[in-house]
C-alpha cells in the first residue's frame, strides 16, 4: 500500500487535507490493521488527500490515564502534541473512539487544539456529499446488521446517528439491541480493561454484550472501535457463532460495498 506520511509530504512541500491518526490498535493489532487498510482504501478511492504520522505516532496515553497513570499520559500527550503542532496539523480523522476522545477533548487543555473527527462521521459526510459510490449488486442489501455503540463515541461524545446512517446507506436492515445508544452496554475494554484480566464475576462483559448482539438475529455486528471489535469477536467465538455472525467495522462494510 502506498500510504503517505507527514514527513514525506513536508519534504515534498505539500500539506494534506486531513491527518489519519491510525492509533496503536490500528497499527499493531492484526484484526484492527484490516480496518485501517479498509479505511485507507476508501480514502484513496474517494481521493482524499491524507497522510499518517507513521513511526512518529505514539499512543495518545488514553489507557494509561484511565488506569490512573497521569504521568504516563502527560508524557505521551506532550510528545504527540509536539509532533502535531510541529507539522501544523489542523484536522485529524481516526478510526479509534479512544484516540478520538483524547485528541478532541483532552489535548486542547495541554496545548493541542485540532479539528478532530471520528471515521464514522467522516464516512457519513463522504456519503452525504455523494463521494462514496456503491457497487450495483449491493453487498449488504437487506442484510440484518446490529450496531454496537462504543462508549467513547456515544455517551462520551454524543455520536449515535453517524454510524447508523452509514449502515443505512448500505441498504442494510438495521436491528437494534435492547440496550442501544445512550443505554448501550460497554464491550468491556474501556478504562484500560483491554490490557488486564477481568475481575471475578458471574460472566464476562464481552460475552454479555455479544449475547445481546447475537439475540437480535443479525448476521453482522457492526462496530466503530477496534477494541469493541476485538471484544465482540471473542464473545461471538466463545458462543461458537463465528460462522453465522461476523463482527465488522463500519469502514470495512463501506470498503466492501465500494463500486
Amino acid at each position: 500500500m502506498n500510504v503517505p506520511t507527514m514527513a514525506n509530504m513536508m519534504a515534498a512541500g505539500e500539506t494534506p487535507e486531513v491527518l489519519f491518526w491510525v492509533g496503536c490498535a490500528g497499527s499493531f493489532d492484526q484484526r484492527a490493521q484490516k480496518i485501517t487498510k479498509a479505511f485507507v482504501t476508501i480514502l484513496d478511492k474517494v481521493g482524499v488527500k491524507y497522510a499518517i504520522l507513521g513511526k512518529e505516532e505514539m499512543c495518545t496515553g488514553d489507557p494509561a490515564r484511565r488506569a490512573g497513570n497521569e504521568f504516563m499520559f502527560q508524557m505521551m500527550a506532550y510528545q504527540n502534541i509536539q509532533i502535531l503542532n510541529g507539522y501544523e496539523i489542523k484536522k485529524i480523522v481516526t478510526a479509534c473512539p479512544h484516540c478520538f476522545n483524547t485528541l478532541k477533548n483532552e489535548y486542547p487543555a495541554l496545548g493541542g487544539s485540532y479539528e478532530v473527527i471520528h471515521h464514522a462521521t467522516f464516512l457519513q459526510q463522504l456519503i452525504d456529499e455523494g463521494k462514496i459510490k456503491m457497487k450495483d449488486g449491493v453487498e449488504f442489501k437487506g442484510k440484518k446488521i446490529t450496531y454496537h455503540d462504543s462508549c467513547y463515541l456515544g455517551r462520551a461524545n454524543d455520536i449515535y446517528e453517524a454510524p447508523r446512517k452509514v449502515l443505512e446507506a448500505m441498504d442494510a436492515a438495521l436491528v437494534e439491541m435492547k440496550k442501544c445508544r445512550s443505554n448501550g452496554l460497554c464491550c468491556g475494554a474501556g478504562g484500560a480493561q483491554m490490557f488486564k484480566e477481568e475481575e471475578k464475576g458471574t460472566t464476562r462483559i464481552n460475552i454479555e454484550r455479544s449475547d445481546e448482539a447475537i439475540e437480535t438475529g443479525a448476521s453482522i455486528i457492526a462496530a466503530a472501535c477496534p477494541f469493541c471489535n476485538t471484544m465482540l469477536t471473542d464473545g461471538v467465538k466463545n458462543r461458537e457463532k463465528e460462522n453465522e455472525v461476523a463482527v465488522l467495522d463500519i469502514a470495512e462494510i463501506v470498503a466492501m460495498s465500494l463500486g
Partner: protein, 431 residues
C-alpha cells in the same frame, strides 16, 4: 389557651427551623472539606441544566412510567406545601383557615386540587412500597442497601402516606361538623359520612385539631430527617444540577501539577530552581476529592440506576457505582464528626480507599460513563473512581502486573503492547 397554642407553635416552628439550618450548615461545611473546583462558568447553561434536570426531571423520563409516578409524588408534595403557608399563618396568628374568606370561591377549588394530589401521592407511595418490598426490583434488593438505607427508603414512603392521610382526615373532620354548611371536598368527602356516624361535634373538633398539629409536626420531623437521609436529594438535586460539570463526559479532569512536572522533565531549562512542594496525587480519602464529588455524595438518592447500568455490576463484579457514592457520604459524615469532636481532623487510621472502597471494586470500572449517563441528579461516580485509581497508581504504585507491563510498553515502545515502534507502519508495507 389560644395564646399558649400560638406560643407553642412559634416555639416548635422556631426549633424545627433552627435545627434544620444547623444541619444544613453542617453538611455545607462537610462538602467544603473537598478541594476547590471552579464551576461557575456559563451560568446560562447551568440554569438550563437546573431547570431541565432538577425541576424538569429530564433524566427520570428515560423510564417514563416510573418518571410519571415520581413526578406525581414530587409535584404533589411541592404543591400541597403551598397549603403550608396557610397552616403556618394560622398557627402564628391563631386564626383558622385564614385564606378561606379572602379567596372566596377559589378556596374550595384549591383545597379540592390539593386533596386530589394528596390522594395520588398516597397511592403512588403505596406503589413504591410495593415495588421495593413485594416486587423486590433488582436494584432495590441489592446488598448496597442492606440495613439502614433500605429502612430509610421505607420510612420516607410511610411518612408521606401518613402526612397525606392527616391532611385528608383534617379536612374530613372539619366538613363533618354540623356547624359546617359548605360542600365537602372531593376526596375527604368520602370520609365525612363515616365521621358523622362515628363522632360527635366535640370529638370532630379534637380530631381536626389533632390532625392539624400532627400534620405540621410531621412536616417538621420530615424536614429534620432529610439531612440524615437519602431524601436530601429533593434539595440538593438543584445545586447539584447547577454545578454539574459541563465538559464532555469523556474528558478526564486534567492534573495541571503533573502536566507542569512533565513539561519541566522534557524542557529542563524551564524548570524553577529550588525545592518544590511535595505533590499528592489523586484521592485516598474524602478530603482529597473535589467539593463537587462530596456534594454528589450528599445528593445521591440511592436509586441504583447507575449500578443497574454498570457493565461491571451487571456481570457480577464487586463494583457498584451506587456503593461508591454511599461510601463517600458515610466516610464524609465520619470525618465531619471527627472534626466536630476534635476541632480539627485527628487521624483515625481510616480512609476512603480500602476501609470503604476496595481496590477490586476500583479495578473493575471500564470508564464507560453509563453510571454518569443514568444519574437523574447529575452525579459522577466515575470521577471519584478515577481519582481513587490515580492515588493507587501514583501514590502506592499499586497496579496489576498486566497494567505495569502496559505502562512500560507505552514508555518504551509508545504503544501498550510489546511491539517495536519501528513496526508501527509495517501494515503499509503489506498488501
Amino acid at each position: 389557651m389560644h395564646y399558649l397554642l400560638q406560643l407553642l407553635f412559634l416555639l416548635v416552628s422556631g426549633y424545627a427551623i433552627w435545627l434544620f439550618s444547623k444541619n444544613i450548615l453542617r453538611i455545607r461545611k462537610n462538602i467544603l472539606l473537598g478541594k476547590p473546583e471552579a464551576l461557575n462558568d456559563q451560568p446560562g447553561k447551568r440554569w438550563k441544566n437546573m431547570l431541565l434536570l432538577a425541576l424538569g426531571q429530564k433524566k427520570m423520563f428515560r423510564n417514563p412510567t416510573v418518571a410519571v409516578l415520581h413526578l406525581v409524588v414530587y409535584a404533589g408534595f411541592i404543591i400541597i406545601n403551598i397549603e403550608m403557608l396557610e397552616i403556618m399563618l394560622d398557627g402564628i396568628l391563631g386564626t383558622h383557615r385564614l385564606f378561606e374568606k379572602p379567596l372566596g370561591k377559589l378556596y374550595p377549588l384549591l383545597i379540592n386540587a390539593f386533596e386530589v394530589l394528596a390522594l395520588l401521592v398516597l397511592l403512588v407511595c403505596v406503589v413504591f412500597l410495593i415495588r421495593r418490598n413485594v416486587l423486590k426490583l433488582k436494584r432495590f434488593i441489592s446488598h448496597d442497601l442492606d440495613g439502614w438505607p433500605r429502612s430509610d427508603a421505607n420510612y420516607i414512603l410511610i411518612t408521606e402516606i401518613i402526612l397525606m392521610g392527616l391532611f385528608l382526615k383534617m379536612n374530613a373532620a372539619e366538613t363533618a361538623m354540623s356547624s359546617y354548611h359548605g360542600e365537602s371536598y372531593l376526596v375527604s368527602g368520602y370520609i365525612v359520612p363515616i365521621y358523622q356516624h362515628m363522632f360527635s361535634d366535640v370529638q370532630l373538633v379534637w380530631i381536626e385539631k389533632t390532625c392539624w398539629w400532627l400534620h405540621i409536626l410531621g412536616i417538621y420531623a420530615f424536614l429534620n430527617y432529610l439531612p440524615y437521609s437519602k431524601h436530601l436529594h429533593i434539595l440538593l438535586a438543584f445545586p447539584n444540577a447547577y454545578y454539574a460539570r459541563l465538559k464532555p463526559v469523556g474528558e478526564m479532569h486534567n492534573m495541571e501539577q503533573v502536566q507542569q512536572e512533565v513539561k519541566y522533565m522534557m524542557q529542563p531549562e524551564l524548570a524553577p530552581t529550588g525545592e518544590s512542594a511535595p505533590m499528592k496525587f489523586g484521592a485516598k480519602d474524602v478530603m482529597d476529592l473535589s467539593w463537587k464529588n462530596l456534594m454528589d455524595a450528599y445528593s445521591c438518592t440511592e436509586c441504583g440506576r447507575c449500578s443497574a447500568a454498570c457493565p461491571a455490576h451487571q456481570t457480577g463484579k464487586l463494583l457498584s457505582p451506587r456503593k461508591i457514592m454511599m461510601d463517600t457520604r458515610d466516610r464524609l459524615e465520619e470525618v465531619g464528626k471527627n472534626i466536630e469532636k476534635n476541632g480539627s481532623f485527628i487521624e483515625d487510621g481510616k480512609q476512603l480507599i480500602n476501609d470503604y472502597v476496595s481496590v477490586e471494586e476500583l479495578r473493575a470500572c471500564t470508564t464507560c460513563n453509563a453510571c454518569v449517563q443514568e444519574c437523574p441528579v447529575s452525579i459522577s461516580p466515575l470521577d471519584i473512581i478515577v481519582e481513587l485509581r490515580r492515588s493507587l497508581i501514583m501514590e502506592d504504585s499499586n497496579a496489576p502486573q498486566e497494567w505495569n507491563a502496559m505502562f512500560s510498553n507505552i514508555e518504551n515502545n509508545f504503544a501498550p503492547w510489546k511491539l517495536s515502534p519501528d513496526d508501527r507502519d509495517a501494515w503499509t508495507r503489506e498488501g
